[in-house]
Structure formats: structure tokens, C-alpha cells
Amino acid sequence: MTTNRRDFLKIAGVSALTLMTPTILRPSWAKEKMITPVSALTAKRWAMTIDASKCSNDCTDCITACHAVHNVPNFGNPKDDVKWIWTEPFASVFPAEDHAYSGQTLQKMKIPVFCNHCANPPCVRVCPTKATFKRPDGIVMMDYHRCIGCRLCMAACPYGARSMNYRDPRPFIAKINLDFPTRTKGVVEKCNFCEERLAKEQLPACVLACKQKAIVFGDIDDPQSDIRKLIEKRFNLRRRAHLGTVPQIYYIL
């Protein structure tokens, strides 16, 4: 049997069309699933609110707790800094809202900043190995096994929420927490909304560490949740929301 050009093109065209099957049919086995243990905190959409007016300038409770739980190294050198939570002045957190006449309280404020776990995360879009991915419950997660250290995510993140390990972090960790792995040289890391604690029915470390109860964490998709009620009641801001990243950390000032 010989194939002529016409038949060949027909077969090639039909074959190419079959590539569209998953998008048209959307079979249930092709959908992304999360299997969470029964004893885990679950949500449709995790989010966080920060009441920065409750934060005092010299308090670092949330940072200390987070960095201890997640084995975040302290290189003692701002150039190599690895940070999951850190503080920024109002003018850097909300550059569009700052002006020459903002009050002293605002200008002096040190606001804790995190990965915003965006609903439309640019870091996920640029990651060439899918090491960064968004879970169905909204957590933007890192799979350190896959990270090749290309730092495209660092360039893409408008919040500077990602840090690169330029050196082996192990010698710079004060006390290693055995419940969480360390990172290695050449991977990028960031806040993971304590997904490993949520799986064990524990709230994020920063939420529990804050004595002022400035951080509220919960399911923003649930109209009955504390976080949802708080957001509906109090005016809040999100960092650089005009960029379209749909950040999920809400600031009450």
C-alpha cells in the first residue's frame, strides 16, 4: 500500500486533532486531585490577614518561629539573606498608597511580609521544571527536588518573596528542626503557608507565635470562616494587586 500526499495529510490532521481530547472531554482521571489525610486542616482557598497596626516595631516573634520551624539559615550577610518572613516599611510594602503626607504611624510601621500565595502566581508560570506549583487549595508550593536554581521565579515575583541558597545553608542553621528538611546549595526557597503543619492539623507557626493575634489564617472561600468575616468587616489592602497576581495576604492597617 502506498500513501499519497492527500491521505498522509488527512491522517496527520486527524492525529493532531486528537491532542485536543483532554481539553474538550476533561475526563475525571485527568483532573488534579489532592488527597489529604483525614486529620488535616483543609480549605478550598487558604489565605491570611495581617493586622499590621498590632505589630510593634521591635517584635520578631513570627519571623523567629517560622525560621526555626523551617530550618531557615542565617548567613549574617544581607546579600545572601534567606527569608520566609521579613519586615518592610510601609512605603515599600504599599508604594502606590504612600505619599509625602502619610502619617507618622504609617511611615514608622514595620510590616511583616510573606509569599503572597497568589491565585495567579507569576513564579509558577515561569518555572521551567514545574518545581513551583499551585495546589488546588491555593498554596503556592516548592518542590525542592525539582528546583534547578535558575532563579526565573525570583525575577518573576513582584514581592521579592523568594530567596536563593548561594551557599550550603546547613552550617548556618542555629538548631536543625528534625521534622522539616533543610535546603541545599542552589535551590530557591520561600514561605509554604506551613503546609507540612496543616497536614498535621496545626496552624501555621507564625499564627501561633504572634502574641498580639495580628495574623489570622483560614479558608477565605468559606463565608463562615473568621478570616472571611474579618475581611468583610475591615478595610484591607493587598500588595501590588494592580499587577494581577491576585495576592492572598490581606493587610489591615
Binding site: 488527597i35 489525610p37 506549583f133 527536588h145
Partner: protein
Amino acid sequence: MKKGKWGLIILGLGIFVVGVTFPVWYGTIKSTPAPVLSLDTPVINSMQNKKCVEDTAFMRGNHMKMLDVWRDEVVRKGQRKYTAKDGRKYEKSLTGTCIQCHSNKEQFCDRCHNYVGAKPTCFSCHVVPGEVKK
């Protein structure tokens, strides 16, 4: 003159063949004794029924594949529980499960990895309690 040229070629070929097959015959002549893996750890000694997650033969041949599957399932799918073939349940965790029993990494993991020349990068992030970095 011509004879000398052929001699050189054959000599060169001979050296080449010896060089290329070196690992094969060097391995047969010089036999390294198989590693002796130590199961002498406090947790294993205190166990009534000394059983790993799966049977020994399976673990010996497939632990690396199993750990690979575990890490993807935990990180990417959030499945943290492993049910063994005989129904026992385990947490999918290198530090939390494997190293709890095999706490003697140097006498267990490393001996075999060194023997076969495997260089797993697991332990550059996953912590072995009490391990001192050399």
C-alpha cells in the same frame, strides 16, 4: 618499513582494547567483599517483629524507586500515608520513618552506596539526627 607500520597499528589497537575493557577485567581480578550492613540500632533491636516497610528483597532492589514515588506523592499530591503490601501503615518520610529505625546511616546506607558507587543527594537536605558533617 611497511611491516613496522602494521606493528604499530596492532600495538595501538591492543592498548586501546586493554584500556576499554579495563573496568571489566579489573573488576573480575580484584574482588571487593560485599558490604556488611549493620542492623544494630536501638530501635531495630527493641522490635519484636523485625520487619521493614516491605520485605528485605524488595527494599534492597527498590528502595530508591519507592522513595522517589514517596517524595512525589507527598510533595505534589499531599498523600502522606503509605500502606504496605501486608496492610501496615507508614508515614512517607525519610527522616521520620526510614531513619527512625536505620539511624546508623554510616553502617547501613553509606556502606552499600559506597560499594555500588551510588551518590544519592537525599541527605544534603533530609536530616539524619546526630549526624556531624565532615
